[in-house]
Symmetry: C2
Subunit: 176 residues, 2 copies
Amino acid sequence: MTRRILGIDPGSRITGFGVIDLIGSQRHYVASGCIRTVPGASLAERIRVIVAGIHDVIATYQPSEAAVEQVFVNVNPASTLMLGQARGACVAALVMKDLPVAEYTALQVKQSVVGQGKAPKEQVQYMVVKMLNLSGTPQEDAADALAVALAHANHSGGVMGALAQQGLRVKNGRLA
Amino acid sequence: MTRRILGIDPGSRITGFGVIDLIGSQRHYVASGCIRTVPGASLAERIRVIVAGIHDVIATYQPSEAAVEQVFVNVNPASTLMLGQARGACVAALVMKDLPVAEYTALQVKQSVVGQGKAPKEQVQYMVVKMLNLSGTPQEDAADALAVALAHANHSGGVMGALAQQGLRVKNGRLA
C-alpha cells in the first residue's frame, strides 16, 4: 500500500511543501515547492494565498496524510505571532480537507533525517537530496518540507511513531 | 440594506464570536458565544474545533463580512505562538468562506466603542451592552467579539473606515 505524505514548513513569507510516496520502506519524491505571500499584503490576503496554495497542492497530488514542522524562532514577539498565524492557517487548510496532521519539532526532523538534532541546515538538505535521489537541491523551504515528510515516514511506521504521535519519546530505553 | 457583521476575538483556548446587524446607522444584536477547544488536545484537533465552530456560525447566521481583533498579548513566546495559530486558523476559516475580513487592534476597538483607547475591559463590556440594548452581560470573549463587530460597523461606513482599512489614521486633521 502506498502512503502519500505532504510535508509542510510554514512561514509568514514563504511556506514550503514537499510530497513523497512511501511504498513499503521505500521513499519516492513526488513534488515540492513554495507558496509565497505578497510582502505588505493584509493578513487576510496572505492567509488566503497560503490556504489556496495548500488546497491546490492537495487537489493536484491527493496526499493521504500530512506532517507540519513545529517551527519556533523567537526573533521577536511580532514575528513569533506572524509565524503562528501562518502555521495556524496551514493546519486549518489541512484539517478542512480531512487530512490527518502530525507535528514534528525541528529537533525531531533533524534527528530523524540526519541522526542528530544539532545538524546544520545544509546537512538536512544534503540528506533530503540523498534519501530521495534528487538530481538537484530543492529551494530551502521546499527541502525543509520534504525533510518533515521524511521524518513522518520514519516515525509513523512502528512503535516509535505511535509514541511520537502521543508526544512521548524513548530515551535510554525508557519513555521520556 | 442590512449588513450582517461577524466579529471574532481569537484565543488559543476560547474564541469569542459576535454577530450584529447594521441597518442604516442602527446596530442590532443577532447572536454571540464562544468556541472552546479541549485543553491538552493536539494543535490539529484544536484548530479543527475552531474552524468547525466558525463555519457553523457562518452557516447559521450568514454574515456578509467579518472583523477580527488583532490581539497581541506578549506573556511569553510560547503563548504568543499559540495565539497566532488560533488567529491564523480563524482568518483561514473566514477567507475560505469568501468573507471580506477587516482587522482592528484592541486600541482601535476601544477607541471606537468607548471613545478612548485606554478604557478598562469592563467599560468596553458596559458599552457593548448599552449600544446593543442587551438584557444581560455576555461572556467576556463573546462581548469582546461583539465590540470588534461594533468597531467595524463604526469604521467601515465612511471615509474614516476606508482609511482604517488601508492602515491609515487621521490625527490632528492629517493622515498619520
